[in-house]
């Protein structure tokens, strides 16, 4: 089997009485573009902070590139943007990036290109504390690109950016991902994950709710509307059906949430075998958004 780039095993972390992460495990493979999706305070930033040794977990462990030891060497191969951009305020953009390159053990030759990619070439000699929020964020993205990292970690990279910059950053992520770089993108924006990611991990209150390919997650949740003369019998029968994750009665119909592969013919056949003839049958694929919202209201 392919070697995972990142293995997270049973990570937990609390801040006082608040459990920020609760037995969180995950594997990331080379080339994955993983979206870590969750509302504010769900543990996304805590997870990424632990992976970059900014935060220490209460229990559990993680392996970068299959290695347990010398994690700082692994971090040299990772470009990361955590929560908010941090740089030396009195240094220019170029000098800040030189420091990053020095720490990473990378040359200075990629600095110009990185600044070009985020559109900061003109202001490269201005001090960091003269930058606007959006420029700071873009500089932080530029810093992650130095030394051609094997993994990119981005925590809400489009936070505080104008629409033009958002498009720029998203294209950049796609471009980097197309070169085979593994990406971990934390976001509370569904749309962002849907547009840029191949895989998704959904977090809420420090627990991993769901993980898989973005398209599988889409397929896996089928909303089926059915109607019949005897609605009570329909409800009972539906409860016995395979793949039914949930069954809700809504006004004049019953809504089934299916979690497996099936199709209309099979559903129809099942109800006929129970002696129920459907007067209405509609299959609706759910958008990731309603899936996400469902997860959060559970």
């Amino acid at each position: 089997m392919e070697q995972a780039i990142l293995e997270i095993r049973h990570l937990s972390k609390s801040y006082g009485p608040i459990k920020a992460l609760n037995d969180f495990s995950l594997e990331v493979f080379p080339g994955d573009v993983l979206g870590i999706l969750g509302p504010n305070g769900s543990g996304k930033t805590t997870t990424l902070g632990i992976l970059m040794d900014i935060l220490k977990p209460d229990s559990g462990e993680f392996l970068w590139f299959g290695q347990k030891e010398n994690k700082h060497l692994a971090r040299k191969r990772i470009g990361a943007l955590l929560e908010q951009p941090v740089f030396y305020p009195y240094l220019s953009a170029v000098r800040n990036l030189q420091i990053v390159a020095d720490i990473k053990g990378a040359g200075y030759d990629t600095i110009g290109e990185a600044l070009e990619m985020v559109g900061l070439s003109e202001r490269k000699n201005s001090k960091f504390n003269t930058y606007s929020l959006g420029m700071k964020q873009r500089l932080a993205v530029a810093a992650t690109l130095l030394g051609n990292p094997e993994v990119l970690i981005l925590d809400e990279p489009t936070n505080g950016l104008d629409p033009k910059s958002i498009a720029l950053i998203r294209n950049l992520i796609k471009e980097v991902a197309s070169r085979g770089t593994t990406v971990l993108l934390a976001s509370h924006l569904l749309d962002e994950v849907q547009k840029t990611c191949t895989h998704v991990a959904v977090l809420n209150k420090g627990k991993l709710l769901h993980t898989g390919r973005v398209d599988e997650v889409l397929n896996a949740t089928l909303r089926v509307e059915v109607r019949a003369e005897d609605m009570d019998a329909l409800c009972v029968a539906a409860g016995e059906m395979k793949f039914v994750a949930d069954c809700k009665r809504e006004a004049d119909m019953v809504v089934l949430y299916l979690s497996g592969e099936t199709d209309a013919a099979e559903i129809n056949k099942f109800f006929v075998s129970k002696g129920i003839y459907l007067s209405h049958l509609a299959l609706k694929k759910k958008s990731l958004e309603s899936y996400f919202l469902d997860l959060l209201t559970e």
């Binding site: 220490k56 941090v86 030396y88 020095d102 720490i103 990473k104």
Partner: protein, 267 residues
């Protein structure tokens, strides 16, 4: 280590705050060294007027005593040097730039070591100012100069270095512990001027010399001057290895405590 120095060089070399603070410290030190004789002699002149015995004029800059005298005086200004240490250690936390270092691949050990190097270099700088000032002043104020007179009491230079370095390590420890610029400067001032003097007064005489600031102060005793000799007061005119050892042990303890605290701490 060279990589760490290269990284830190950029942090300090292009910082205006660093140069301003270093220049102020340098100016204070040099002014103190070069101006102190005048102040002492003026004081003596006015006191000798009322004194029935005449106090002989003397130079505190004469070899070999200049090393001891300047090392003793320089010790009073070490708090200014530690302000530079505190400023840069605590700003790594308040600006959160320590995260930049760690997440791009510096280990926590390397980060702490880089700050230790910073304290070491600042202390070396201070000792160098002492060396050059002492040499210049000694040359100007010594009659009948011989080489052995210059080197005789030169042990006070490394002793001075150790005193400043140990104090710098105390500052670095407080910086890592408290993380907030103003609070840590306040904590250092309270400890240095209030807490330890009280402890030294309360604790039995056998223990109080082992307190950190006391130990640093003991490293270089009050110099013997003609005035003091007249009154029959005799201070230690050399450096005791035991005091040096205590200071060294404190530097090691401060370093180990920082490592211990940061093994499992969020940044």
């Amino acid at each position: 280590m060279w990589t760490l120095l290269k990284i830190d060089f950029k942090k300090y070399f292009y910082s205006r705050a660093f140069w301003v603070m270093l220049a102020v410290y340098f100016a204070l030190l040099v002014m103190f060294f070069f101006g102190v004789e005048k102040i002492v002699n003026e004081a003596l002149k006015s006191s000798s007027k009322s004194s029935p015995v005449t106090i002989p004029a003397f130079s505190i800059y004469a070899f070999p005593y200049v090393w001891h005298n300047l090392a003793f005086l320089g010790g009073f200004l070490k708090i200014f040097l530690v302000l530079i240490v505190l400023y840069f250690v605590t700003h790594e936390f308040s600006d959160k730039t320590i995260r930049l270092n760690i997440m791009n691949g510096m280990s926590r050990t390397q980060f702490i070591f880089s700050k230790l190097l910073f304290v070491l270099l600042l202390s070396l700088f201070s000792a160098l100012v002492l060396l050059v000032s002492g040499f210049v002043l000694g040359m100007l104020h010594t009659e009948e100069l011989t080489i052995s007179m210059i080197t005789q009491k030169a042990e006070f230079i490394p002793a001075y270095f150790l005193e400043v370095f140990t104090f710098g390590m105390l500052g670095m420890f407080l910086g890592f512990l408290i993380r907030k610029p103003i609070l840590s400067i306040g904590a250092l001032a309270i400890y240095y001027y209030i807490a330890e003097p009280i402890m030294a007064a309360v604790l039995p005489d056998k223990i109080s010399p082992y307190l950190p600031v006391e130990a640093m102060g003991n490293l270089i005793d009050v110099p013997n001057t003609a005035l003091m000799q007249m009154f029959g007061v005799q201070f230690r005119g050399n450096v005791s290895l035991q005091d040096a050892f205590i200071c060294f042990v404190y530097s090691v303890i401060f370093t180990l405590l920082i490592f211990l605290i940061y093994r499992n701490k969020d940044l």
